[in-house]
Symmetry: C3
Subunit: 366 residues, 3 copies
Amino acid sequence: MSQTIEQIAKALEARAEGDLTIEVTGASEPAAAGPDQIALAMSEKYAEGLQAGKARAALVWEGADWRAYGLEAAVFVTRPRLAMAGLSKAFDPGPSIASGVHPSCVIDPTAVIGADAAIGPFTIVGPDVRIGPGARIVGQVTIGEGARIGAEALIHAGVRIGAQVVIGDRFVCQPGAVIGSDGFSFVTPDPSGVEEIRQTLEQREEITEQKWTRIHSLGTVEIGDDVEIGANTCIDRGTVRATAIGSGSKLDNLVHIGHNVQVGEDCLLCGQVGVAGSTRIGHRVVLAGQCGVSDNITVGDDVIAAGGTNIYTNVPKGRTIWGSPAVKMETQLEINKSLRRLPRLFAQMAELRETVTKLTQKGGTE
Amino acid sequence: MSQTIEQIAKALEARAEGDLTIEVTGASEPAAAGPDQIALAMSEKYAEGLQAGKARAALVWEGADWRAYGLEAAVFVTRPRLAMAGLSKAFDPGPSIASGVHPSCVIDPTAVIGADAAIGPFTIVGPDVRIGPGARIVGQVTIGEGARIGAEALIHAGVRIGAQVVIGDRFVCQPGAVIGSDGFSFVTPDPSGVEEIRQTLEQREEITEQKWTRIHSLGTVEIGDDVEIGANTCIDRGTVRATAIGSGSKLDNLVHIGHNVQVGEDCLLCGQVGVAGSTRIGHRVVLAGQCGVSDNITVGDDVIAAGGTNIYTNVPKGRTIWGSPAVKMETQLEINKSLRRLPRLFAQMAELRETVTKLTQKGGTE
Amino acid sequence: MSQTIEQIAKALEARAEGDLTIEVTGASEPAAAGPDQIALAMSEKYAEGLQAGKARAALVWEGADWRAYGLEAAVFVTRPRLAMAGLSKAFDPGPSIASGVHPSCVIDPTAVIGADAAIGPFTIVGPDVRIGPGARIVGQVTIGEGARIGAEALIHAGVRIGAQVVIGDRFVCQPGAVIGSDGFSFVTPDPSGVEEIRQTLEQREEITEQKWTRIHSLGTVEIGDDVEIGANTCIDRGTVRATAIGSGSKLDNLVHIGHNVQVGEDCLLCGQVGVAGSTRIGHRVVLAGQCGVSDNITVGDDVIAAGGTNIYTNVPKGRTIWGSPAVKMETQLEINKSLRRLPRLFAQMAELRETVTKLTQKGGTE
């Protein structure tokens, strides 16, 4: 899959100079680049690498004297990561799946699969499933009865999509993800210890046996357009209404989304984030890796949480938070500083108490 | 799958009034309910929703004036979540699996599968496996040689059950769970840095190369009756004795149970909880989301841990804990309050030191 | 698979006494051992168990009076866990997979599979894959186009290996692991809130809409020799260069390794550890369960982190750390002690302020 420098510049909406007919078949870090690769030298720190490498063309920073590095062509980039998005898309061949449905698949006759589908081996598609045009399904995938998936889905190996799940267009799902597992919702005949604790925040008076009875998940999962789900991530179905992931949201690997959770649009939920049941996450929320969110709370629009933050209560919109329990980032920075200074504070207190005792004895305040 | 209001009331052991012959095919939130659904209006806050919706019948709170909301029948509920358990069970069709064993499955001739089994495509069942009557296995499942599974199992897609694993009756397992992976147990020829640190809790004197050699897992996993395992959860096999999950315990998604761990009966381990090797968890323990438990410790019966709690040492029975490291919940609440007030404490200290210095200079204590 | 005591002693390079011709078929804890099992009594605390059990032979501690426990043979062990490694390897039969490639597999004709392979049902092997000799692949595995796997691999059920992934010899991979999922790398046309926060560590002035565009992963994953990967662990491919796991490193279950991450040699990454994108982990690093490591930082060689540690910044080599944010272990111990004493400190401050106020009034410092 080769591209000319002209094609690349056009795809990136960027200015290019030099021999725009040069063809490249991939991209590389400057020092490692061969003559058939475009070097990624989007800031001045890569200048040395460009000298060392063998690339004939490069993405370079604005103002770079590209000819001095022995290049024959250059594409000028102002926002490097955005340029990477365009460039990497151009060179990503995607998984190789033979077109059509592999003969080993078990497809229910009532399922409707759109045009131009490529479905790999051992895939199971249940009754009344609808899959839009242009689907690419790598293989070993299970899609439960009545599920609906929009156009141009890319579903990697071993993904499990439960019954009645509804998914929008341009869905991307990494291997092993589970969408539509049953919610973790149990009840005891009498109030359980957990219910008591939530009332009292204290030790319990008395402890009794408790057997857990399942509350079945009658709801489903509804996923908007342009959503991406990471490897081995799990999204539980709702109890009555659907668990929902808004359009444009991206979930990383090993994320856990509990039953009834509502995630807004254009959110980023990073690796190993967990959101407990019935919580509502606003739009454009970013939760860094390993954040945890308690059940039945609301995280406002545009909240950003640093890695490992534990959110136990509602968070107002627009706030940047950190810590456990989560506080404003500036508060946590203050707390961290205080913690390091604590031993000194204890020492000062001891010293001061001694001084004051002496003063008191001398002055006879009592 | 329609039910009369009379049938529903009977299933919930609840009192009903009005036209008990009305048939419904599902349940819904009050405002969204159609005429063929029973509205879930189990507290007064749903009164408005009942007015707006089209349901003919509802689950209502004790004392509700149901006719005023245009209903034709009502079922009175005292413990709403318990009622939901009964109602949701009645309306859950479960996954659709054709009865019998799908011809694509690879079943070892020495395996014995009980009556009325429904086993979906591409399932692998090893030698000497025993599966009880009434099994429902969705598909793409792997069951290793010698494994034993009790009656009425419901095993979703892509579950991996290792060799010799023993599981009781009424087992429910969500997609992608792994039961019986090898334990994470390694040893170095000479004592490793970790062993040294455990002795000294300090920096190490000297650092040497260390190559890890596997301690193989000869033990298995033993799971009691009425256990449920969440999506993509992993349970490692024991080194010599079995890793064990007691009857009635429920594990959520993405939970990690290390080798040799003993989990008691009727526990709830929520999403992304991790329990390290050889630790013992008592009965009726509740670990909220993302709790971590160190290896080789004991968590007593009836312990409840808030989300994100890190448990490094033994916990006495009946205790409610929070934080990292875990302390009594009331202690953590006190610590949290103190942390927020710390900057003020530092300011007070500075001010006080100044005052006392002045006093001292004046009084001449030295 | 029976072994004589002589064979076992030889395998463990240990001294044995008594009847070395006794054959055993497995190992057991002393009290539960039968006559055909070797009892594991590697310290004096097992003396009572030996009395109770039925074993004829045992692994015993140096100096044990083994005849007094009714044993007929004994193997003397100085480093018990190392002995367990040897013993458990001798008795582990491994998964039973029929030799050869199961006829249900879909193997691309251009793939080359080494001698003596055993590949279970429903495995998919893509174009140009190379698998070394002695491979054992349990079943339901997917191996993408162009992947390279060394000699003597043991790959459990449901593992997903992506395109172009390169893996060394003696690879062990637990069920459900995903190697080579796409990186979690997105960019907005204008600087996003996250970028702004990283600059300011403060609240944002203004909040704007942001749509995320994927940066595709053109890189792959490179894994050295003797690496083991846990169940449902996920390793993302790199953006341009490869994500890398060094030889001898072991990853536990449910670990998340982001794109471009470099893990050194002989590391242990325990259950549910997460390492964010482009971070570099040195050699012989041990991260206990649920540790989190931020993106784009460096963790030096021989660092050891206690469970649940959150690493936000570079860590110098050789350091033992704990806490969130991570500090030296001794500092965290000091902080923990201080936190418990904080309420007392607040009380002392209140008391002292009162005393000083009285002194001041009396002495008239103002």
